[in-house]
């Protein structure tokens, strides 16, 4: 049965402030993310977009403000609970894939499930299915060093989606790829996320990529400078 979308934000940030010394990376950001939607976060270097992603994902604690996941406040959780939350409710796609070099593609995809105490056989089977789904058949036993940039990024997407998270955070996911591979990779990510109903937040410098997404949030000097659609 297809997922049912609701208007209530799956993820929300209110008055988010993040400081590094005297520098304000975030100076009071409000943002709502609805289930299943894809948002591009754009802005010049140092504007605070990556900090926003990290604060929303609970990787970094906010100095001020609140973060809600499905209406529940999550910014006050301790590190252990935030880790569990990231493992179970979020998926991550970083630039260059950031796969574990020692593991095969299949094991990399299975890793979040294994960490969530899913049985080994079940996790590996699910990982294999995701790799097939992302057009990576026959690459399951390869190590990251044996994959092309686009293939590695698809493995990373499979890893981010395998445990069916509510939100996927992607930081410059096509930054190291050529245009065509980048487009293919993004299409794979958005299609797969649409299947699971996961919201996708993508930090990018790529204007074309941002323009192809239904919603864009521009950050400047730690604040939301504009939103499309407004």
């Amino acid at each position: 049965m297809a997922p049912q979308w609701t208007a209530q934000p799956v993820l929300a940030g209110r008055g988010l402030v993040k400081r590094y010394g005297n520098e304000h990376a975030l100076a009071g950001v409000d943002i709502d993310v609805t289930a299943g939607e894809a948002i591009a976060i754009v802005g010049p270097s140092g504007s605070g977009k990556t900090s926003l992603l990290h604060v929303l994902a609970g990787i970094l604690p906010a100095d001020e403000g609140q973060v809600f996941l499905a209406g529940q406040r999550i910014d006050q959780l301790n590190e252990a609970n935030r880790s569990e939350l990231r493992r179970k409710e979020f998926g991550f796609v970083f630039q260059n894939g950031m796969l574990v070099d020692e593991l095969t593609a299949q094991e990399n995809v299975a890793l979040p499930m294994l960490l969530g105490d899913v049985a080994k056989a079940q996790a590996l089977r699910a990982a294999r299915e995701w790799l097939d789904q992302l057009d990576l058949p026959g690459l399951a036993e390869r190590r990251p060093g044996e994959l092309s940039g686009g293939q590695a990024q698809r493995v990373a997407i499979a890893r981010a989606l395998a445990h069916q998270p509510k939100v996927i955070f992607a930081d410059e996911p096509t930054g190291a790829l050529d245009t065509r591979t980048g487009e293919e990779t993004m299409r794979a990510l958005l299609d797969a996320a649409a299947q699971t109903g996961a919201a996708v937040l993508i930090v990018t410098h790529d204007r074309d990529l941002a323009a192809s997404l239904p919603r864009t949030v521009a950050i400047r000097d730690g604040r939301v400078a504009s939103e499309v659609p407004a």
């Binding site: 990290h54 493992r87 970083f94 060093g145």
Partner: protein, 737 residues
């Protein structure tokens, strides 16, 4: 650009390079301290030996002699006192004195070391001063003593007072110190055992930046730098830290020499200056160690220099082959073979150790890879999978951290196995009971010694209980020969280890060895024989004491003339309360002959074993600490090398505990396996060595487990060392540094 300038620039800009340089500096400093200390040992032995050579004068012909000297060891409690009894025959005797010896004492005069003079003052006269009766005419200077606290007495006599143990001597300056082969061997072993972990520590420190440096240098190569330029930069970067470390090590070694001079060896500590190395050796150490470190660093980067793209892409490494395992039995057999053929010479032992190092270097990575393979096949949890893959992918790097401890555990297990079995052999050795003091002397001297001893005892209100026990060689009709103590049975029960025998009613021979037919006695081997009465009863002495196996008890009535012939033992029973007074009474009458007893003999054995145990444990602990530091640095370095991976895993919600467990398994398991393997090999080779020692019984003892415990400690240090670095990564998981 000048490679040194570039090296300095990198160090200024890169925090991790700075950290690595500091660790290299510390590692080189530690290695320099250890090597300079160990290199100074043979020289320290030589210094001490030359200083105390006069205490062991060499004999000369009667024509050249100017004095007669007897050099023995006395005891006060368990403390050894060097005693030199001297009778100067000629005015020339004191013409040339060794440094620190103020004068030769005449009859009834003594020269004492400061520590002995102090000890004499602190104790009742009858207990100690009586042994060195006479006026103190001088005090030894430090240049004549092994250590400031050595107890030494030079006791003057009339020539007739000395026993036949005294030898003719031309000059005390003719004394030559004996070299200490054991300590020289231990110094050599120490250099091998401690230098390797020191260098591993340095290698671990330099590996902290290896991944980043490989990338940087690969980039430089790709930008057009020649291999020579690249290697020059590495050499310069490493040399800066290594040279500074070597200089720091030499500086720090000086105060440490003072500390080491308090560690006793062969019954004495050292003079602080004994460990001061000649400048030439210090310079050699300061050049050689940094050179080794620089060489290792440049060799480690050959791959980058010759194939930068290969390094940049970090292609898969070749897996070690199984033939490497053969190196272990080959090295073990070669070690034993070398020892057997070389009669335990230093070269054989050190060569054998070098073989073991080589074997461990060859077999260790293969073993590590196999362990990794087991994890990869059998994993159930991600931590074991991650650890297994790491061990499988780069077993050489994973094993590197264990290399130092492997050697330390092997050597320690071997040494302590041998030591334990030798300890088990110690003991026995005297036919007299523990409470009996005795002196060997010629028959003529013995009468005087007995008389004077009993007089001395009487003066102190003690019973005149010294008696003489003539010694003979007893032969039966079939040529069976045993040593005979001419002593009545009831006295023998009181004084000797024949304490359990039943005394026959009539004069008899009691022997644990069966004797048959006509018995005859001689007073020295090959001397004139005297027949015992034909009807002499021979009783079997029922004792299993091995010391008495070739001894017999002969009633004096069977050999009435024996007291005037051959060698006699003057024996004196004591009680714990009268021991030192009795020893003084006997020593002052003994005319330079050594006063012995079973406890003092055992104490000497114990002291030698304690020396060996002490240096073994000190060496092991040092090696263990070095290996632990290496393992810790390696573990921390492996986190830094994979910071981005770990960071992304943490960002994605991987609990710190899972990564910590993976790192623990990765660091601890090779160390544990290496420890157990090296321990087993060490015990095996130790047992092999014992087969070369006659009468030894190979046995495991608690000390043999010390190195294994040490290895486990290292493994635990390694296992926990990554946690702080991981926590730092967690605080900012996605930052670059």
């Amino acid at each position: 650009m000048n490679p040194f300038v570039l090296g300095l620039r990198v160090m200024r800009a890169d925090r991790r390079t700075r950290t690595s340089s500091i660790l290299i500096l510390v590692g080189v400093a530690v290695a320099t301290i250890l090597v300079s200390l160990l290199a100074s040992l043979p020289q320290a032995v030589q210094e001490r030996s030359e200083r105390t050579g006069w205490q062991e004068p060499i004999s000369t012909s009667e024509e050249d002699a100017t004095m007669r000297v007897s050099s023995t060891v006395d005891h006060f409690g368990d403390t050894a006192i060097k005693r030199i009894d001297i009778a100067a025959d000629s005015p020339k005797a004191g013409a040339e004195l060794p440094p620190g010896v103020p004068k030769l004492p005449g009859p009834d005069q003594v020269v004492l070391s400061p520590a002995l003079a102090e000890l004499i003052k602190e104790n009742p006269e009858a207990m100690l001063a009586k042994r060195f009766a006479g006026a103190q005419v001088g005090t030894f200077g430090e240049e004549s003593l092994s250590a400031p606290d050595q107890l030494v007495a030079l006791v003057g006599h009339q020539p007739t007072e000395l026993t036949s143990e005294a030898v003719p001597v031309a000059s005390l300056n003719d004394g030559i110190g004996t070299s200490d082969g054991m300590l020289e061997l231990l110094a050599g072993v120490g250099i091998v055992v401690l230098l390797v972990p020191s260098l591993v520590l340095v290698a671990s420190a330099s590996r902290l930046t290896a991944a980043r440096r490989e990338r940087r240098l690969a980039a430089l190569r790709l930008a057009g730098a020649t291999p020579r330029q690249v290697l020059g930069m590495v050499a310069a970067e490493t040399a800066l830290a290594a040279i500074a470390g070597a200089l720091l090590g030499l500086l720090a070694a000086t105060p440490l020499h003072q500390v080491v001079s308090h560690v006793p060896w062969a019954g004495a500590t050292w003079q602080p200056d004994d460990f001061t190395l000649p400048v030439s050796i210090s310079v050699l150490i300061a050049v050689l160690i940094p050179a080794l470190v620089v060489l290792a660093a440049t060799l480690g980067l050959r791959r980058v220099a010759t194939n930068p793209l290969g390094a940049a892409n970090a292609q898969e490494r070749q897996r070690p082959k199984a033939w490497r395992l053969l190196a272990i039995p080959v090295a073990g057999l070669a070690f034993l073979g070398a020892l057997a053929s070389g009669q335990g010479s230093q070269l054989a032992v050190l060569g054998g150790l070098a073989l073991v190092v080589l074997a461990a270097t060859l077999a260790g990575p293969w073993l590590t890879s196999v362990i990794g393979g087991v994890f990869v096949r059998a994993w159930r949890r991600p931590a074991l999978l991650l650890a297994g893959r790491r061990l499988r992918d780069d077993p050489k790097a994973a094993y590197r951290a264990s290399a130092g401890v492997v050697l330390a555990v092997f050597t320690g297990s071997m040494a302590l196995t041998v030591l334990g079995s030798i300890e088990a052999m110690a003991g026995g050795g005297s036919e007299y009971r523990d409470n009996v003091l005795y002196v060997r002397a010629e028959a003529d001297s013995a009468k005087r010694i007995v008389r004077e001893t009993n007089e001395n005892l009487g003066q102190n209100g003690l019973r005149a209980s010294a008696i003489s026990v003539p010694m003979t060689y007893l032969s039966d009709a079939e040529g069976q020969q045993v040593q005979g103590m001419v002593l009545d049975c009831s006295s023998a029960k009181e004084l000797t280890r024949f304490e359990g025998v039943t005394c026959p009613a009539q004069p008899s021979v009691l022997s644990p060895t069966s004797l048959a037919g006509q018995l005859s006695a001689e007073y020295e081997p090959g001397g004139q024989q005297q027949r015992l009465p034909a009807d002499t009863p021979v009783w079997s002495a029922d004792t299993a004491d091995p010391v008495l196996a070739n001894m017999a008890l002969v009633d004096p009535a069977l050999l009435p003339e024996v007291a005037d012939k051959g060698t006699v033992t003057v024996v004196l029973p004591t009680t714990p309360d009268t021991l030192e007074v009795a020893r003084s009474a006997l020593a002052s009458a003994a005319g330079g002959a050594e006063v012995r007893s079973l406890p003092t003999m055992l104490a000497e054995q114990d002291a030698k074993l304690a020396d060996l145990r002490r240096v073994t444990v000190i060496g092991l602990l040092t090696a263990g600490l070095l290996a632990g530091a290496s393992a810790a640095i390696t573990a921390a370095g492996s986190v830094l090398d994979r910071r981005r991976t770990f960071g992304s895993l943490m960002a994605a919600g991987t609990p710190l505990g899972v990564l910590a467990r993976a790192l623990r398994a990765e660091a601890a398991l090779p160390a544990l396996v290496a420890t157990l393997g090296a321990g087993a090999l060490g015990v095996g080779v130790g047992f092999g060595l014992l087969t070369l020692i006659e009468g030894s019984i190979p046995m495991l003892n608690a000390w043999s487990l010390v190195p294994v415990g040490l290895g486990i400690l290292v493994a635990l240090i390694a296992a926990t060392a990554a946690a702080p670095t991981l926590r730092r990564v967690r605080s900012e998981p996605l930052s670059d540094e």
